[in-house]
């Protein structure tokens, strides 16, 4: 998903900074963005779980970006997440603690500058906890709430926050899952939707509009009934 988002921004003419745990793996992506779009691309080492390093990471960037997109996420295996507290902690930290920490450092730098846009990729899984993946869901619920609070805090400082709820997307995370065609977006759709959302300063987006409806229904099922469903 991160690759498609980078392409969408590079395609719109933005220079791109890519950050990941192992930036050497991104050499081909850097070459791709440069070859296709002729934009400048730089690579940076970043670990969302190493929160102590985040302030220095932001300070060390060659330029503070206009727009920062946090795509970090980790789902793990629900059965393992339930059985092993450390596995659960990794999910909670990867989707909530780490992303919140880096966005907070970026928010500080952007509000000091007086401009910027932060984008967080959360998930509809956070809209209501389900038996099949509530550890991940809880982490994303926390992240969605975090983004909402951040948006609220920064609205006076000309820093905008976009919450992205992608729905199902065909990526490595969902490889091998049997996903319903109409509800499943290609990564390119997510990229295009985010570029649009940033441009139009939208607050919360669903990538495929049908998800707004699906989630409205799911959120409104009364708990006595919901607890008996298998979703």
């Amino acid at each position: 998903m991160a690759r498609a988002i980078a392409r969408a921004f590079a395609g719109a003419g933005h220079p791109v900074q890519l950050a990941a745990r192992d930036p050497a793996r991104l050499e081909a992506d850097k070459a791709d963005l440069e070859t296709r779009f002729g934009v400048e691309v730089s690579l940076h080492e970043f670990d969302a779980l190493d929160t102590d390093s985040h302030a220095a990471f932001v300070g060390g960037l060659p330029d503070l970006p206009d727009i920062a997109v946090c795509v970090v996420g980790y789902m793990g295996e629900q059965s393992e997440n339930i059985a092993d507290a450390r596995a659960a902690a990794r999910v909670l930290r990867s989707n909530l603690e780490g992303p919140a920490s880096i966005l907070e450092r970026l928010a500080a730098a952007m509000s000091a500058r007086g401009s910027g846009t932060l984008v967080g990729i959360s998930s509809v899984a956070g809209d209501r906890g389900r038996a099949s993946n509530y550890v991940y869901g809880a982490a994303k619920a926390g992240f969605t709430a975090y983004l909402s609070g951040l948006r609220n805090r920064l609205s006076a400082e000309n820093v905008h926050v976009v919450t992205v709820l992608p729905g199902f997307v065909r990526t490595a995370m969902t490889e091998g899952m049997d996903l319903p065609e109409r509800l499943t977006a290609e990564p390119e759709e997510v990229g295009a939707a985010i570029v649009q959302a940033v441009k139009k300063r939208r607050n919360i987006i669903y990538v495929r509009p049908i998800w707004r409806l699906v989630m409205a229904v799911i959120r409104n099922i009364p708990e006595p009934i919901f607890k008996k469903t298998k979703l």
Partner: protein, 436 residues
Amino acid sequence: MTQLSGWGRYPRVEADIVRARSEADVAAAIEGGALIPRGNGRSYGDSAIGPKVLDMRGLDRMISFEDGVLVAEAGVLLSDIVQTFLPRGWFLPVTPGTRFVTLGGAIAADVHGKNHHLDGSFCDFVDWAEVMGPDGTVTRLAPGDDAFDWLRGGMGLTGIVLRAALRLRPVESGWIVQDSVAAKDLDAAIDGFEARLDAPYAVAWIDGLATGDQLGRSILLFGRHATPDDLSADRRARPFAIPRRRKLSVPVTLPGVALNRVTVGAFNAAYYARGAARAGRQIVDWDRYFYPLDAIGDWTRIYGPKGFLQFQCVLPLETSRDGLRAALTKIAASGQASFLSVLKRMGPQNGRFSFPFEGYTLALDFPVNDRSLALMHALDEITLAHGGRLYLAKDARMPAEVLAKADPRAADFASYRREAGLSAAFASAQSERLGL
């Protein structure tokens, strides 16, 4: 498990699809047992389907572009190459009739375009390809290597293309100077091609339903890339900007009966009349010239829910007139509707298992039904009798005996696969059907 088919939506098989996003994913998939790589699924029949399919579209990074040579991963679409490089003055050296195919698919089928008679096929412009074999090792193959010769036209059955270097063609504009000529019958069409062998691009739309002294009537379209001198002043100022085409689409899958001898015959006749009336020189943009079908989304639905088949053969020069006449007579008599079909002059054979050889190639679509299958069987016989062969990228149903008779290279290909340990690693529904 998913139902998967080629472009013709026939046949369909239950497939386990894995998407590769990195070289490591490809290696892991190969380790898991026999599979077939798949590009953008534009081959018509069963070349890119099977019980286990490796979707290569996630490996789609462009790596470098220097001196006209693009290095890119196999899943890059030709449409992306055009979009990226035409504005910089470069076009594809060879392109099939749709641009929505991957680099890997174009290499595996060694696709041909309207310039085959002069320039050869796709792999004639590939400087090298990096291919992963059954044991996960990656080898860089180049023209002259035995394995490269089997790779081109090898339909994904000799290894997985990861990356390749493609030499693009410099062009001065996105416009094509097209010269169209009406040919009243088959002889006129062939004479027309032979008279213009120096035309960079040449193709004919042939009316597969015309009979009698109109048998084989065609509209021949010759073309070359326009230079600034060919263009009006406003176009010359922005030579690569072309008008956006409106995307049409077929809104519903038509019932199979909507296409019949009368409706299609009327369409073909109208197309011919229009072509004849507009014969002459015209400047058209690259999109309309090379990819007339790409503007119609989902056009395959026109053929109804069962899907459709394409028949494409190539016949040697010496037997082309007789063979084409026999085939067209058979088709017209069968009354099986085929929309405008394509006739093309091909140049010499390159590569050990590629489809093209010097002569004429004829391609026609038919809706899937028993009569079409019977007709195609008869066309197989005509092809064999005239020393021709069929194109695997279009094939969904040829019997193994027909391939064996038409193309002695098939047996060599199969034994190469066995000896190199490739048969156990790479298999498609097509390779199983044809004993490749």
